[in-house]
């Protein structure tokens, strides 16, 4: 499986762009790590249920009620660019 690992393609899926040297290094390091995790194939997992988390409950609900939380100013206080209570981003529609 790890032979098919393409670091640039996977980086693109995660919206990361790698330099030449990063790409070379990651390709080799991650191939080594993917080779290491191949050992999980040795384990007989037939009939074993997967564990997503270790707490024994499924759905947790609370009442859907408004309450005090951030003000708009607080919510925007860490935005890199903003104006008129809006976050500014590059134009999306041409």
């Amino acid at each position: 499986m790890s032979a098919e690992f393409n670091v640039r393609h996977t980086a693109h899926l995660a919206r990361l762009e790698l330099s030449e040297s990063e790409a070379r290094r990651f390709q080799s390091q991650l191939s080594q790590i993917l080779g290491y995790v191949e050992k999980l194939k040795e384990v007989d997992v037939s009939g074993v249920e997967p564990t997503a988390h270790t707490a024994d409950f499924m759905n947790v609900f609370r009442a859907d009620e408004p309450r005090d939380w951030f003000t708009t100013e607080e919510a925007l206080s860490n935005a890199p660019r903003q104006a008129n209570h809006l976050i500014i981003v590059p134009k999306v529609i041409e």
Binding site: M1, F5, V7, T10, A11, L13, A14, R15, L16, E17, L18, E22, F26, Q29, L30, Q32, I33, L34, Y36, V37, K39, L40, K41, V43, V45, V48, E49, P50, T51, A52, H53, T54, A55, V60, R62, F70, E74, A75, S77, N78, A79, P80, R81, I87, V89, P90, K91, V92
Partner: protein, 482 residues
Amino acid sequence: MDLHTLSLSSLQARFRSGEASPSEALEALEARISSVDPKVGGYLSRNLNRAREEAAVADTSLPLGGVPIAIKDVINVKGDPCTAASKILQGYTASYDATVIRKLRAAGAIPFGRLNMDEFAMGSSTENSALQRTSNPWDLSRIPGGSSGGSAAVVAADEAFASLGSDTGGSIRQPAALCGCVGLKPTYGRVSRFGLMAFASSLDQIGPFTKTVEDSARLLNVLSGKDPLDSTSLETQAEDYTRLLGRDLKGVKLGMPKEYFIEGIDPQVDTAVRAAIRQYESLGAEIVEVSLPHTEYAVAVYYIIATAEASANLARYDGVRYGRRAEELRNLQDLYVRSRSEGFGEEVKRRIILGTYVLSSGYYDAYYLRAQKVRTLIRQDFENAFKKVDALICPTSPEAAFKIGERSGDPLKMYLADIFTIATNLAGNCGISLPCGFADLEGSRLPVGLQLLGNNLDEAKLLGIAHAYEQATPWHKQRPAL
């Protein structure tokens, strides 16, 4: 009077007897930090003015009244920077208190200082911090462990009475072992994660670093409990985690997992841990060998599950709503790609890519789903072991602190440093590391950690077992010469 050297409990005793005030304690601590932190590098920043105001009006009758507690840079304290030691969050100011901070404040404590760590808690040496280097207080050329390296180093160096860290694969226990203090990873769900920047949501847990086991229990009393803001926090009866401190060990059964006593452990670590086991026997505990047969798969399972969860959690850092945004952007896609590529450090990128790969179409079943199934088998190993014993006893780390720079080119070797801690996160149970001796390496005297692992929600029993050993040994009283 060297107030900064006191444990949290001794400090509070001085507050209550009137021998010292919270303001004096804070000033003593600040003087200590100013004198040794230029060498140790544990703190990223401190808001001294705010802490002074809080100390002046502290109510010392509260459970942690007037005690400054230092915080890992991944837990939000309103008004303080919170960067996860990442460039992508440089300049970020927390706009709310994490639940653990709210609880500390309600107990009278003073959150004081931001602690260095591996970027987004990814690492075992704190070398992955994008902001600064932290050294081991016992040998400044060595790493303090990680990811909560700052949290461990400042407690060991008497620069904090106690601190908070987070443990996803050993990030509390391993640095506590390498720096020579007490580090507790509570059961998954015991402590709310609300306000902890998420790395791997099914594994992350907040816990305390302290100078003594008693302090650890007292902090857990404050930190634990169901939180409506964290749907994975557990609904449990309130309990006093100090209640089994001082109890003798008659009838207590400790299991030595045979897979944790393997070749490759540093001989001095092995010697110290085996001496601790004999000490337990002489204190009345019964030692039996147990097996956790899927241990050898834990690192592989962990690096699939933790990176998969991280790749999803770290998708939020896109340069739009907060954090650093790249400049001179061509379009929105460019904003995402360049903000992330410029903002994340190397280890974080490596793990995001690995996590993205194991979740990607065509590979999900082979990697992620299979890892989740092996995780079930690892959980069952622990369930079976805890049917036979009260706790497991083993090394925290296979070796003492290594030199800064020694491992940085070899991520797989770095990952294998966590072999004794990560299975616990996968299984969800609790664990503690406490000092059990020293290794002499190249002229340095380096702490060795003993790890005790407890069943789900068995923290009180675990702390009692740890306390009995601590009280019978001198290790927790040793301090580095700085």
